[in-house]
Structure formats: C-alpha cells, structure tokens
Amino acid sequence: MPEISYRQAIKDALAEEIERDENVVVIGEEVAQYNGAYKVTEGLLERYGPKRIVDAPISEAGFIGMGIGASMLGVRPVMELMFWSFAYVAWDQMINNAGCVRYMSGGLINVPIVIRGPANGGTNVGATHSHTPENLIANMPGLKVVCPATPYDAKGLMKAAIRDNDPVYVMESTLLYGTTGEVPEEEYVIPLGKADIKKEGTDVTIVCHGPSVPVALTAAQVLEEEHNISAEVVDLRSIRPLDEETIINSVKKTSRAVLVEENRPFCGVDAQIAYTIQNKAFDYLDAPILRVSTIDAPAMYSPAIEPEQLPKAATVVDKVLSIM
C-alpha cells in the first residue's frame, strides 16, 4: 500500500467525492487560488475549476451560513475553516441553523454539509488559534463530529462525512497534516461512529482521539518496553456518533482505563467516556479511571512551555503506572 500524508489523504477524499457527485463543492478562505492555508486543497482549483472550488471572503458567519442555505437546496458543500478556532465567529450558523433546522422543521429540511479544517494546539499560535472544540459540538444534538488521527482514517472518514445527510464537522489536526501512513489505492469509506483499536493490549485501555492518538501510542510503547505493561489503544475517531461498544469491550478485557485528549478536563469528551465506562463496565474495573487532558488554561504561547500544557506521553505512562 502506498504511504501518503494526512494532508494528501484528505485532498484525495475531496477530489474523489467532487468527481463522484456533481453537487459537492469546496468553499473556504484561500482554498482555491492560494491552494489552501495548509495546502489541503492544493491543485483542486486547477483540476475542477472555480465552480467547484470557491474562495470565500474572510466572513465565517456569512459563508458558513451560505453553505448551510445551499445545502438545504441539495448542494453538498464542504466548507473549510482556516482554523477551527474561527468556528466561533460562525457559531450561530453552525449551532442554531445547521444543528436545529431539521428538528424545528419536523424533519422537512436536511442539512448535508461538511465543515472541516485544522484544530488543536501545539503550533505556538496563542490562545485564540489553538482551540479544540469537539466537546462543544458533540454537546449539540443534530451535529456529528469526527477527529481522524491517521491518513487512512482521514480519507475514509472524510468520504463518509461528505456522503452523510446530516451536518458533519471534521476536525483535522494541524500537527498531523505532515504525518504519513498507508492508504489503499482502491476506494473505501469508513463509517462514522466506529472506533479503531490502534494497538491491541491486555493490561490497560488507553482511550484517545485526534492528536492524542500518537501521544497514546508513544506511551503504550514505553509501557511495553520499559514496564512490560500491555496497553490497548482505542482511537475514538468519531466523537458523535460514539462507539461505546469498542470502549466497553476493551475495558472488560483490561479492567483499567486511562483517557487522553486535548480538550480541557472540565466538561471534556473524556468526562463522557469516563461516565460511559462506569455506567456500563463498573463491575469490570480494578482501578479508578484516570484522565490526561490539556492543563486547564487558555493555550500558552511560549514555544518552550506550550508542549507542557498539552497531554504528554510521559504523563500517560505515569497515570497508567499509578493504577497497575
């Protein structure tokens, strides 16, 4: 299988869906002529022309709302947010309109829109550009949110998101764009809501998603090599819908869980995961569920300090050791 980058995998997904369905359009700031702020849409304008690849002015509320309106008429827009941190500018459109129109119309109106772009910290861009809002979106019924961590997942999940008839918000991760992985040449689609066991193990379950997946995998390797502990790494991939079954089955096998995510701890995604485990696998637990999150403050700028604020493999290792 050829190895391609996470960035390329998303671009391939967009290209294949543009070719498959004439209603798919890509709209966002600098996605066309500039080739994309993170080069995810590089070359697409040249291949598909300005009707399918559209540069939007810097006005998230306007163009995201416009995409939602167009989706109500059967267009299937893939909207790029240059950063997920800019989603708040379009929050009314993303939450009130995309999330509620189907409900308030008694099911008469569908909103088949995808909103995608990079999220997360780690690039020293300060508090306003380092947001990780999957927990906020997952809190809103009517919306779906997925956070792919590998090129394979990114491509398969993006294709599923574009074909989905509900609004799907795809959070990519700035730090992952350059990472590479095997992606098959033949077409595949990964259903939303199916977690993936990134590494099998027997002693402890590490639940993670997005940029915390490489953190968890590094921790699992250290645990194995230095402590002879076999960790199972469960990548959620999709926050809503959520694959509870895979999490519960893993915890039933290992009896221990450490949850890793880049959200802040208060009301983070892992608060829900911890509840789910105690609700459905309490009798299997041999230790308390522990969490590793971002330190509870806005994102630190200082390049020397920011890595300390984010979940670290060493912290995950320590937490696991503390419950063995």
């Binding site: 002015p57 109500m72 008429l73 309109n97 308030m104 599923a160 989905d164 939303l192």
Partner: protein
C-alpha cells in the same frame, strides 16, 4: 444603481394612488380574480393572526407570538410573484409569509399550540414554520441569522443553473447584525440572485429606528451603496407598489443574477411580540391610530377594490366571514389535535436516525442515561 426613491408623503387619497399603481406594467394585466385573490390572502392572514392572538390570551400558546398585522401586503405581494425557482426565507414574524405561500391554517395554528399535527410537528412553534415543498424555508428565531441562509438558497439556485431568486426577509432591527452585512457582501461579490427585503416597521423590538440604526438619509436599503448593490425604497401600504419594486428585483435576479436590497416601509399594530408589555409605551396611540386609519394596507386595498368596482361590499363580507370561519376551524382543529409523544422528542434530529434502514454510521447518537 437603481431608483433611489424615498417614499413621499402621499397627498392623494390612497385608493386613487393604488389605481395609478395598478396600471404599472407588472400589475396592468392582473385579472379580477387575481386582484380578489390578493384581498382574500391578506384577509386570511389578518384573521388568522387575530384568532391566534385570542388563542394566546387563552393561554394555549407557549413562548412568543410575533404578529404580522399591518404588514400583510408585503408577504402577499411577494408570494404572488414567485415562480418554480423563487424561494423565501424569513425571521420569527413568519405567519404571514407562511400563509401567503399557501400553507394551511390548520397546520399553522396546530404548530402554535405545539400539536403533533403542526407543520413542524410541534417542534418549531410560532417562530419556526417551514414548507420546503412551497419553496418556503422558514421561520428563523435569531435576528439576522437567516440572511446568510437566504444567500445560500440563491447560491443553490445559481449552482443548479436555474432561473430563480431567493427573497430573504428581515426586520429593520436585523440590518445591524454582522451576519447580514457578510451576506450582503457575498451576494454582491458573487452575483447571486438574492433579494434582501427589509420590512421596516419602524421598531427594533421596542427601540425606534432612529435610536437603533445609523444610516444614510435615503434609508436603510441605501446601505447597499457600500456593496455596489441595487436598492429601492417601497411604500408598504400599496400592494401594487410592492409588486412593482419586488418585480424589478426578481427580474434583476432572473436576468442578470444580481442581488437587490429593498426597504419596504410598513407598520405593526401589535407589540414586538404579544409578550411585549411596553408596546403602548414606546409608541403613541395617535401614531397607531393614524396608521390604522390612513395607511393600513388591507384597508387601502379594500377602498381601491371598491372604488374600481372590482368587488362589492357584499363580496368582501363573504371573504371576511370565510376567513374568520377558517381561522375558527383551525383553532378547533388545533385544540382537538394530540400533543406530540414523548418518544418524538428524539425524532427529526438526525436524518439517519429517522432512516435506520439506510443508516451508514454505527455508533451511538443520543445520550439520555
């Protein structure tokens, strides 16, 4: 840009002004039946609204009720110009537009009462009526939030290669929302067939236009100048004048795929909503009485129809009685309809949850334990 006409103080009797405007190209071929139809549509809206006010006062309607009484000419004139690919979207004062595009009183009244037979199955309420089969995209509760959606409808019309337009209605209070300006920019920048219709009733909730909007002396629509967009002022008391101005905007949308901002001057008799306890404090009784007596679009049109002998008083009474009965019947229908089931709370959230046989995703979508 297009005509910059500020509404002038009218000196002639309203009925004779309408007689002149009835001769405008867009109106001159209207049949007697069509003219009677407009009257019927306006009467139906007014009687529905009056009936819903009584139902609200009986305590049967929850939340808000934003009445359209006094503004009926706008929705009726605009709906009369809609073709297969012309769309409408509006804000929370949406009952008039809903009835004008052909929604039934039963489904609308039942929605007000939160019944399962309502147009949104009791999930939308007064502010959220929808009928996509009639190109009517609602009924939206956040001031100005629907305007980008309207631009999206225009984008959809153009993307699919159709000749059409999207009329996006808002009140005068909405024009200060950022989303509205972003939508203006997109429509003008991308040559989208959007028609922004400001129904200016003079008040943003309880704050007068003078106290809420900075604007050129020509009015709120004149802000279009900054976007290189066509605009017009229209007197809302005349159904024929509205058809004339909106007709020009639709022509521009259809033939040139260009947007327009229209400011239609109107007035509402009731408060911002029925729950607006200070409705009589921020406006004088004289102001309301003057509008009712001299500018009410329904009354002005009625006098025109009588003057031109299009209809007799008798025929009007029949229409009025029929509309009252229809509204009464709708109130009865709504009363007798069942409330939605508790199980229905989680229906209509996700398409895929409502179509389980076509479901493509796997995980859990709802979290209620």
């Amino acid at each position: 840009m297009s005509a910059k006409t500020t509404p002038k103080k009218r000196v002639k009797p309203a009925a004779s002004i309408l007689a002149d405007e009835a001769k405008l190209p867009i109106n001159k071929d209207l049949s007697k039946e069509e003219q009677i139809g407009f009257y019927r549509d306006m009467v139906r809206i007014r009687r529905f609204e009056e009936r819903s006010l009584r139902v609200y006062q009986q305590g049967k309607i929850g939340g808000f009720l934003h009445l359209y009484i006094g503004q009926e000419s706008i929705a009726v004139a605009c709906a009369s110009l809609m073709g297969d690919h012309d769309h409408m979207i509006t804000a929370y004062r949406n009952h008039g537009h809903a009835l004008a595009v052909g929604m039934g009183m039963n489904e609308c009244m039942a929605e007000l009462l939160g019944k399962a037979t309502g147009c949104s199955k009791g999930k939308g309420g007064s502010m959220h009526f929808f009928a996509p089969d009639k190109n009517y995209w609602g009924g939206h509760g956040i001031v100005g939030g629907q305007i980008p959606l309207g631009v999206g409808l225009a984008y959809g019309v153009k993307y699919k290669g159709n000749t059409g337009s999207a009329m996006a209605f808002m009140g005068d209070g909405a024009i200060n929302q950022g989303a509205v300006h972003e939508a203006y920019n997109l429509a003008a920048l991308w040559d989208l067939p959007a028609i922004f219709i400001i129904e200016n009733n003079g008040y943003s909730m309880g704050t007068s236009q003078e106290r809420s909007s900075s604007h050129p002396k020509e009015g709120l629509a004149a802000r279009a100048e900054g976007y290189n967009m066509a605009w017009e002022n229209i007197n809302g008391e005349s159904l024929f004048a509205i058809r004339d101005g909106v007709g020009r905007a639709i022509k521009r949308a259809h033939e040139e795929s260009k947007p327009t901002i229209l400011e239609i001057h109107t007035y509402r008799y009731q408060g911002h909503s029925v729950a607006d306890a200070n409705a009589k404090k921020y406006r004088t009784k004289e102001e309301i009485d003057d509008y009712r007596k001299n500018h009410d679009p329904l009354n002005v049109y009625r006098l025109y129809l009588l003057d031109q002998k299009v209809m007799s008083e008798e025929e009007m009474k029949e229409i009025d009685a029929a509309a009252k009965k229809e509204a009464d019947d709708a109130a009865k229908f709504a009363d007798e309809s069942p409330f939605p089931s508790v199980e229905s709370i989680t229906e209509d959230v996700y398409w895929e949850a409502d179509n389980p046989d076509q479901r493509t995703s796997e995980g859990r979508l709802f979290f209620n334990d």
